[in-house]
């Protein structure tokens, strides 16, 4: 029985995403700085930030409730479980069937639900504005994501990510317009959900249009470390999702030799590097939007996703 090796591979995947998430963010920051002709912080800076935050005391507002203290753990756990279930270097891992793509999206939704509640807990104006805008963006981004899942599921005949990934890697998939539209839509959703530049600016702190930073404004110390790590993990989840669905090259099947796993790992790291460069380039070439332009931007994602789905109905080859 190959239970133990499978369990080990699943465990490796779990800790790999945890280890790589800060590196991805550090890398994006580094590339962005270089593109702006700055030297930028080293790639390991996010790790240092985490350690620094862990060492500090937690400063809680007087009326912070138990929910405020529990939320970082719940947010982190939900995001981490989602990240562990998305194929990164190998598909069909031991527990990959326990939650399909819809469930993974819903797990990320749980994390956002608790984050929005945490923003409201202390009862400040900044927390409220952040939560309010977050739920507005999510109300458009989440349906777009579900419709993308519909499109993919109708093409691949499954909502299981591993099955979708192996189908996408096979020659049966071909070149389809609907997949292209779904990809654009997914990228827009990923930008919106991860508070990246045209929607929110991850680098600023005090700005009237901020969303994510406003919700976590009252967090400090280890709580802030967890919330930050969860948001980095979420970026990694989206990058891995795009990678395994649209660029499934190098994804190994479960149960291959250690060499196979290593090749898959190398391919995964390459994908991360490529997406990091693309994300940084995109972010330095575009300006941040006004907050009420964002619904139009994310609405485009929803429209594209619907169009992708309809095309799929017009012809099974599109």
């Amino acid at each position: 029985m190959a239970l133990i090796p499978e369990l080990i591979v699943q465990g490796v995947q779990m800790f790999l995403v945890l280890a790589l998430a800060p590196a991805l963010v550090g890398f994006v920051r580094k590339v962005k700085s270089q593109l702006l002709r700055r030297q930028g912080p080293p790639i390991v800076q996010p790790y240092r930030d985490l350690i620094r935050l862990l060492r500090k005391d937690v400063v809680l507002a007087h009326n912070a409730s138990w929910l405020f203290r529990a939320a970082p753990y719940l947010i982190f756990a939900a995001t981490w479980v989602a990240a562990a279930l998305v194929p990164t270097f190998a598909a069909g891992l031991m527990f990959s069937w326990s939650a399909d793509l819809v469930a993974i999206i819903a797990l990320l939704g749980s994390a956002r639900f608790f984050l929005a509640l945490a923003g409201l807990d202390v009862g400040t104006s900044f927390g409220g504005i952040g939560s309010s805008r977050e739920v507005m963006f999510a109300s458009l981004a989440e349906p777009a994501l579900i419709v993308i899942v519909f499109t993919l599921a109708m093409i691949a005949g499954s909502t299981q990510l591993s099955t979708i990934a192996s189908f996408m890697a096979s020659s049966a998939v071909g070149l389809r317009v609907s997949l292209g539209l779904a990809l654009i839509s997914l990228v827009i959703v990923a930008l919106a959900e991860n508070a990246r530049i045209p929607v929110d600016n991850p680098a600023t702190h005090l700005e009237l249009t901020m969303v994510h930073e406003a919700m976590v404004l009252e967090y400090s110390g280890r709580h802030l470390a967890l919330v930050e790590l969860a948001s980095w993990l979420q970026l990694l989840v989206y990058v891995s999702l795009i990678g395994c669905i649209f660029f499934p090259w190098g994804l190994t099947a479960a149960g291959t030799s250690p060499g196979g796993y290593l090749a898959g790992l190398a391919a995964y790291v390459l994908k991360l590097v490529a997406s990091g460069v693309l994300l940084a380039t995109f972010e330095v070439t575009i300006a941040k939007m006004r907050v009420f332009r964002v619904p139009e931007f994310v609405g485009v994602a929803l429209m594209l996703a619907l169009l992708a789905m309809l095309l799929r109905f017009v012809s099974s080859s599109l």
Partner: protein, 670 residues
């Protein structure tokens, strides 16, 4: 015998109702009646569950010498009735347990107690009835009992209006059902359900019955645009009754729809699903959008019921679509999703109304702008309300997610439908469902966040005390069931399987046999979900994170004033308000859907008058359907008013010409 036990329970409810009239003035009256209802509901619940668990149990029938002399009163328990008996009595038991504590706050118990027991009896009778006469009589009995409960606090002008509109809509719905049964029975037909089952009507009649059933049951369930009474009436009743009305009575309406459409109409046509799907999809999205914009906790919950009823009807519509095309397995999946959502919604909506009742009892407030900070003063209620909020937002690992996941899986089978129209319609409905799910999350962030989090916005909220032990026990049972149904959904799905077997001749595979207690609706490679593992993973990773952090990191906690970017500790009124929370969403969806208008009145410089900001939101159904109806009725009434002030000669002339006219009609009648 399930049927005998259930009818004894009904008898017990009716008896309790009489006891309540007799001893309403006693101080122990509410304890006696609610304890009695709790026992009777528990017996009814176990009777239903027993029938459902014995999966191959034959239907049981019983005839009582009541009602029409040549028909008698027929009662019958089959799998469908047993499932709804379970839902009704589970809600009834939880409400009675909650009311053992909550009922003590009641100012006028003699106006609530008799009708509470009668209401439970009525709902049980509807589910048990096996002829049209008994069914309609029980249906009206249920409506009138709930109307009396809505009118329990009749001193408030809002409640008077709510009761009036409810009475009108309920009568309208009953008329539609009456016509539906009349058409089903035909000119010489019998009203016994056994005859209706064995003689499906012709196509045209079936279509008319479908339309009438959708109107009749939809008006009770709250489908858009027949929903207008629901957000007025449900919040007006005392909270444990609101829970029953929203959580259970709407499900009785779903039962009536399923009974008529799936048992009596014969094999469905492929277009039948279209009105059901459209009504379901629009109810889901409009319901949650209206819910978002409510400033009143109980109104928000009532509108959210419309959203969930929409989700249930989407499932039923999908089942019709698949059944019409002989996709038995897919139809079973859609029906299972709908029935599971019936069960789930009865759990978490009752729990949410109980929570709202506890808040109302502790603070006397339902307005979000006067609540806040209750998580500190009412921690247990806050926790249980949070569980229900997570469940209703369809977030894993709780139960709401499972039924929505199954509905999504059913939507994904739509490419197998041969009709082009349906292949376009069903994914569009799926997109509406996704939109409704995302908006529901926003809605309950608002509901929980502004009632329980933040700082108290009024003195009443600051002084709140935790609710009593009975109320907590009632809520705790429901929260436990939400968790159970979410983590081990396979058990519940297996209980629903005999119901789909009865209605559709097809069922989902046995889920208890699936390894690791996952649920697999169709096949492993297509989709699977394991609530238990997701729950265990979340538990392990959060406990692991807590353990690791507490080992590695600083464990110290300092308390300080809120940071808020350096602004000094401002008054609680500077917090974000519930109205401003939904403002961005209102701007995105509002102008289209509610004709929302924001008016800012800013006084001129130097003027000391206060500035004002008001938002006008309209329910489209009022604006485009009901207001025109009301005004045309008024116009016609004004015209007919003329008839009251005529001279005697004119009256005689009128009577004479009417007589002539009728004689001509009679003479020329073929």
């Amino acid at each position: 015998m399930t049927i005998v036990a259930s009818l004894w329970c009904v008898g017990a409810f009716l008896g309790l109702s009489i006891v309540a009239v007799a001893c309403a003035r006693l101080s122990a009256a509410s304890a006696i009646v609610y304890a009695g209802c709790l026992i009777a509901s528990t017996v009814g619940l176990s009777a239903g569950l027993e029938h459902l668990i014995a999966a191959s149990a034959p239907p049981q029938t019983l005839q009582l010498p009541l009602g029409l002399p040549w028909l008698g009163a027929n009662f019958r328990v089959d799998m469908l009735s047993a499932f709804f008996l379970l839902v009704v009595n589970l809600g009834g038991a939880a409400a009675s347990l909650f009311a053992l504590g909550y009922g003590q706050h009641e100012q006028a118990p003699h106006r609530v107690l008799p009708f509470f027991a009668a209401f439970l009896a009525g709902m049980n009778l509807v589910v048990l009835a096996d002829d049209a006469f008994a069914f309609l009589l029980s249906w009206e009995f249920m409506s009138l009992a709930s109307w009396a409960l809505v009118m329990a606090h009749d001193r408030e002008p809002e409640n008077l209006q709510a009761g009036y509109i409810y009475l009108l809509m309920a009568s309208f719905g009953t008329v539609a059902l009456l016509l539906a049964f009349g058409l089903l029975a035909g000119p010489g037909g019998s009203y016994a359900f056994a005859d209706l089952r064995s003689h499906p009507p012709s196509d045209q009649v079936a279509a008319a019955v479908l339309a009438l059933a959708l109107i009749g049951t939809g008006s009770k369930a709250g489908l858009v645009p027949l929903h207008v009474w629901l957000p007025l009436a449900h919040p007006a009743a005392p909270s444990h009754v609101s829970a029953l009305m929203s959580g259970v009575m709407t499900k009785v309406a779903v039962y009536a729809f399923v009974r008529i459409v799936f048992s009596f109409l014969g094999p469905p046509e492929s277009w039948w699903c279209v009105p059901v799907l459209v009504a379901g999809g629009s109810s889901a999205v409009l319901g949650v959008l209206y819910a978002l914009n409510q400033g009143d906790l109980k109104k928000l919950l009532a509108y959210s019921t419309i959203d969930n009823i929409g989700i249930i009807f989407i499932g039923l519509g999908l089942a019709l679509a698949f059944q019409a095309n002989d996709l038995g397995q897919a139809a079973a999946l859609a029906m299972t999703a709908a029935l599971l959502h019936v069960f789930n919604h009865s759990l978490f909506k009752s729990l949410l109304f109980f929570g709202a009742g506890a808040v109302l009892g502790a603070t006397g407030e339902r307005d979000f702008e006067r609540l806040g900070g209750l998580i500190h003063t009412m921690p247990v209620t806050a926790f249980l309300f949070l569980v229900a909020s997570v469940a209703i937002c369809a977030l894993p690992p709780l139960n709401g997610f499972v039924s929505e996941w199954l509905t999504f899986q059913a939507v994904l089978i739509s490419p197998q439908l041969p009709q082009w129209g349906l292949r376009f319609l069903v994914p569009a409905i799926g997109a509406l469902l996704a939109l409704a799910a995302a908006l529901a999350a926003a809605c309950f962030v608002k509901a929980f966040g502004f009632a329980f989090l933040g700082r108290a916005r009024s003195e009443a909220a600051k002084q709140a005390r935790e609710t009593d032990a009975f109320s907590v026990a009632g809520m705790f049972c429901l929260a436990g069931l939400c968790a159970f149904a979410g983590i081990l959904p396979g058990f519940i799905i297996d209980r629903i399987a005999p119901v789909t077997q009865l209605l559709l001749d097809s069922r989902l595979p046995v889920q208890a046999d699936v390894p690791w207690l996952s649920i697999i609706p169709i096949s492993q490679s297509r989709s699977s979900y394991n609530g238990l593992l997701v729950f265990v993973f979340i538990l392990i990773s959060s406990l692991g994170a807590i353990e690791a952090i507490h080992r590695l990191a600083s464990r110290r906690v300092r308390r300080a004033p809120a940071w808020d970017c350096g602004f000094p500790d401002a008054a609680p009124s500077t917090q974000y308000s519930a109205g401003s929370f939904v403002q961005p969403l209102r701007r995105v969806y509002g102008t289209l859907i509610f004709l929302a208008r924001e008016t800012v009145r800013m006084p001129a410089p130097g003027d000391t008058a206060p500035a004002s900001f008001r938002v006008d939101i309209q329910d489209l159904a009022w604006r485009f359907i009901y207001t025109p109806i009301v005004s045309s009725v008024n116009i016609v009434a004004d015209r007919l008013n003329y008839l009251q002030y005529m001279t005697i000669r004119r009256y005689l002339a009128l009577v004479f010409s009417a007589l002539i006219f009728l004689l001509i009609v009679l003479a020329s009648w073929p």
